[in-house]
Amino acid sequence: MNRLENLYRKIIMDHYKNPRNKGLTDDTRYKQEHIKNPSCGDDVTIQSFVEDGVVKDIRHDGSGCSICCSSASVLSVLLKDRPVKEALAFSENYTKMIANQPYDETLEFEDALAYQGVRKFPARTKCATIAWKAFESTVKVEDNDE
């Protein structure tokens, strides 16, 4: 598999073409975060609904490249029904993995593992993490109340 094939894995292209959980809701129980990547115009909105400390649902929308859009779809599937703490840890380890930083290697990344190829494309790591960043904001409690 060459570098490009390794970047554009089947599973990524599948989520890009057939995004799961796409489209936003008006349901006010969802917390929403919108991030724009000015360097390329990627534009992602993530909504998540947390109940009893568990991520019950994730929605997403936006426009961008295949890496960015697919990862929103992938995370919406992977993180659903996980406790917030676990979802956050997953997200943070994923981001570290993409950034070539030490991460918890015992973690099962499942479909998110497909994004390993991005590590060889530093100019694209933002694409692969922007949706995850947005997700994190939606579930993080505001601990900054100055």
Partner: protein
């Protein structure tokens, strides 16, 4: 122009087997400019204007020599050239130095959807602050600013006309002389964004007769972090500074202060001396090539790419008729960001994005585009590499199911 013989003037190619097609964002830098930069740091490093000792005096002479050369480059006068941090700063200076104090509610500012953010947002802000209104020249079907369309929005309320000379996405040349003449017939002031024209066309501000004109050193072989604002003498004299401090003041006292005459009035603080000094060599390099030869060269490359692209079914070109060396395109169904990664694998440097022209993207109805722009160092071989790589991307993403 012997393209291959120019490539060796650019040290980036010593280290990188790259097809650099992103000059519209910033140009590469020739050895002579880098040499002048290091020459200044190695031999002077001193400040300008205020030192009475030799090093400082000589640095000041070099600094002024570039101001003089810049003036000659666009047929302006020495005092009409203000050095800024870039074209963006220069345009902001016009908007906030001239616009803010000369606009009233009901006045109109004519711009276009072709504008770079740096010639759009300052006017949007100034309009907000003064109650003036931003009016857009309706673009032609191709996306051009045409004289008739301009005339249709010009009226006695028009106080400022701020238009791009060459669009940084479409590469079209605005008929700015005719527009200026019309604008002046309504006593409107004309500010030209020449960031994409100064590197490629011979500019004569006396012929255009515009009031202000802005461009950047770094898009025309010069150092990064330097821009030029040309302003007619009278305009600059009547314009407010936007930054206050050392060097721009004449008398500073608790009871009030008076300013230097232009251009110093607009250049507070220690300027980017080294960059100014080295910009001289960029102007010289361009003048040695000559704008006629440059244009011919750019056109040849552009036409070559366009011809090839017209044979690739899924490539859509947005500006086939443009007069300058810029091809803006997409592979249908594939996000430009994905395409650019394929090209990068082949060492082709190309811009994917909105090119700081979101209103134009909205007008085109796309989120982003690819843009290849040609300059002195590009060759037909660069074009071949681009064409081959685009073909590869088309095949790759088709196989990936897009």
């Amino acid at each position: 122009m012997e393209s291959l013989s120019l490539k060796k003037d650019f040290p980036v190619f010593d280290q990188n087997d790259i097809a650099y097609l992103d000059t519209a964002a910033t140009s590469l830098t020739p050895r002579s400019v880098i040499g002048k930069l290091t020459d200044y740091y190695n031999n002077y490093s001193a400040n300008v204007h205020r030192g009475v000792y030799r090093l400082s005096h000589e640095a000041t002479e070099l600094y002024n020599a570039t101001r003089e050369a810049t003036a000659r480059f666009i047929n302006a006068e020495f005092e009409e050239i203000v050095f800024t941090r870039g074209a963006s700063s220069a345009l902001n200076l016009v908007a906030f130095g001239y616009g803010l104090s000369n606009l009233n509610p009901g006045d109109e500012i004519i711009i276009s959807e072709l504008e770079h953010h740096s010639n759009f947002l300052p006017w949007q802000q100034v309009a907000k602050k003064t109650g003036a209104k931003v009016v857009y020249v309706p673009l032609s079907e191709e996306g051009r600013i045409e004289v008739e369309a301009f005339a249709s929005v010009l009226n006695e309320n028009t106080k400022i006309v701020a238009l791009t000379h060459v669009s940084n996405v479409m590469g079209y040349i605005t008929p700015i002389k005719a527009i200026t003449e019309l604008a002046h017939s309504q006593n409107a002031v004309v500010c030209v964004d020449a960031a994409q024209s100064a590197p490629h066309l011979q500019i004569d501000v006396k012929e255009i007769d515009c009031d202000f004109l802005a461009f950047s050193s770094h898009k025309m072989l010069g150092p990064k972090g330097l821009g030029v604002l040309y302003g007619k003498k009278k305009r600059l004299e009547n314009m407010e500074p936007v930054e206050y401090g050392g060097d721009m003041v004449e008398t500073a006292s608790k009871d009030g202060s008076t300013w230097q005459a232009p251009p110093l009035k607009f250049e507070t603080g220690t300027p980017p001396i080294a960059s100014v000094v080295a910009f001289f060599e960029a102007l010289r390099y361009l003048q040695n090539i000559g704008f006629v030869a440059l244009k011919e060269h750019e056109q040849r490359l552009k036409k070559y790419v366009l011809d090839a692209f017209s044979n690739i079914e899924s490539v859509k070109v947005y500006n086939p008729t443009s007069e300058t060396g810029m091809v803006t395109f997409n592979i249908e169904g594939v996000h430009p960001h994905d395409v650019v990664t394929v090209l990068d694998e082949d060492n082709i440097a190309l811009r994917a994005g909105h090119h700081c022209a979101q209103p134009l993207m909205q007008w085109l109805g796309v989120v982003a585009t690819l843009r290849a722009s040609f300059y002195v160092y590009n060759t037909l071989e660069d074009c071949d590499r681009l064409i081959e790589s685009v073909k590869k991307a088309v095949t790759f993403f088709k196989e990936a199911g897009l």
